[in-house]
Symmetry: C2
Subunit: 242 residues, 2 copies
């Protein structure tokens, strides 16, 4: 079969993975330096780094330049529930940065507004404890959100109230989801390996008048989040977790 030959990096990765899962190496611990590990496994440094790269892609190990390789705390797996607008997840702490800008190119077509229209951008970074969890950019036309757009530093409550009152009720929420590797900016912001797949959700919400109420881009690291979409949750109201 194909997997008959287990290359050295896989053997090393399997060994380290086993040590982590059995608790011989605990979450938050620093691994021995790459030179030490290379000596222990009697491999060269590039080979050992390849082994660590496998664990990074699984989200099991986080490399910090100049400090070492660390076993990641197993993050709660958060389930994004599709079908609505941005909602706060009680398990996460969210920091929001608000920016005023003007629509351009791709964003303008997505929002169906002319280029140059005033927009408000909410850049939301949610944290699970100390480590970043997911990244969301929300764009809403400024003329819809009218005058009550807040200033520079905004708490999540204000965004929640802002988004909780769509003038006309929502008619449609379309969510397009795709899997890809993170951009370098996303990788550093979320402190993930550039080889860890992320889920990108592009959400466009339309009101009954046919206007785009918001466009949102969610980046959910594949090791700690997934998304659920359900048809007709007629009786059961959406609850926090699945």
């Amino acid at each position: 079969m194909i997997s008959a030959v287990a290359s050295r990096r896989h053997v090393i990765a399997d060994d380290l993975r086993a040590q982590i899962s059995t608790g011989h190496i605990k979450a938050g611990d620093r691994l021995p330096s790459e030179a030490q590990l290379a000596a222990r496994y009697t491999v060269s440094t590039p080979t050992l780094r390849n082994a660590l790269a496998l664990l990074q892609a699984e989200g099991l190990v986080e490399k910090v330049h100049g400090k070492g390789n660390f076993v990641r705390h197993p993050l709660r797996r958060i389930t994004y529930i599709g079908g609505g607008l941005t909602r706060a997840n009680a398990a996460l702490h969210v920091t929001i940065r608000t920016t005023k800008l003007r629509a351009h190119g791709h964003l303008a077509t997505l929002l169906r507004v002319p280029a140059g229209s005033p927009l408000t951008e909410f850049l939301c970074l949610s944290h699970d404890g100390k480590s970043p969890h997911s990244l969301t950019r929300v764009y809403i036309p400024r003329d819809l959100a009218s005058a009550d757009v807040p200033g520079e530093s905004t708490g999540p409550e204000e965004l929640a109230t802002l988004l909780a009152k769509p003038s006309p009720p929502l008619a449609e929420v379309q969510e397009r989801v795709c899997a890809r590797l993170p951009t370098p900016m996303e990788a550093t912001t979320l402190r993930i390996s550039s080889t860890l797949a992320v889920l990108e959700v592009t959400r466009v919400a339309t009101d009954n008048a046919g206007h785009i109420v918001e466009a949102a881009f969610l980046i959910l690291p594949g090791d700690r989040a997934d998304a659920v979409f359900t048809t007709h949750p007629t009786t059961k109201e959406r609850t926090a977790e699945g």
Copy 2:
């Protein structure tokens, strides 16, 4: 900025990417050998291979052991539309392998049947032209599909008709989607790099009697497929929540 330093592999990858997009290297072409490319860019072989790895992760280049690196034909981007059952995509050619098996562990809990229950597995590999496009495994309880479960080699039409008549109408379709890297088996089956992110859709369909009609696992390579989920405008009992 962060991207101020462009490592050599990125420079090389950018150059090759430009040559591909401008048509200097056409789809289906074989790139020069890695040794030749390394000489042209005056880098060592591992560095050049790192550059090619970037293009692989984007799905732009396919490596074939013993033959060379090939520019992939740009595959049609297929959009999976959520909310229904398995449906044939007219643009793709689908080959199906049918297997009878019995529920075990994870699959049994997902289908809410006791372990050992008879199931039918449909392993569907869809092709876009010559190259594989996506992979689907569908599991249906054999007592629901009763006697009309077909034999070994089944055409897509039979599967379509089989799945088109759910005895009771569907009550709910839940689709859980996550991003990850492919398993080695998936990578070889779909002929993708093991560093190209895939979208995994786990779909569970329930009928009005509360029985699981089918469970399906879709593997959609991130470079050629995404998924769309839309709230039905008809049922707008959903109130926006904060």
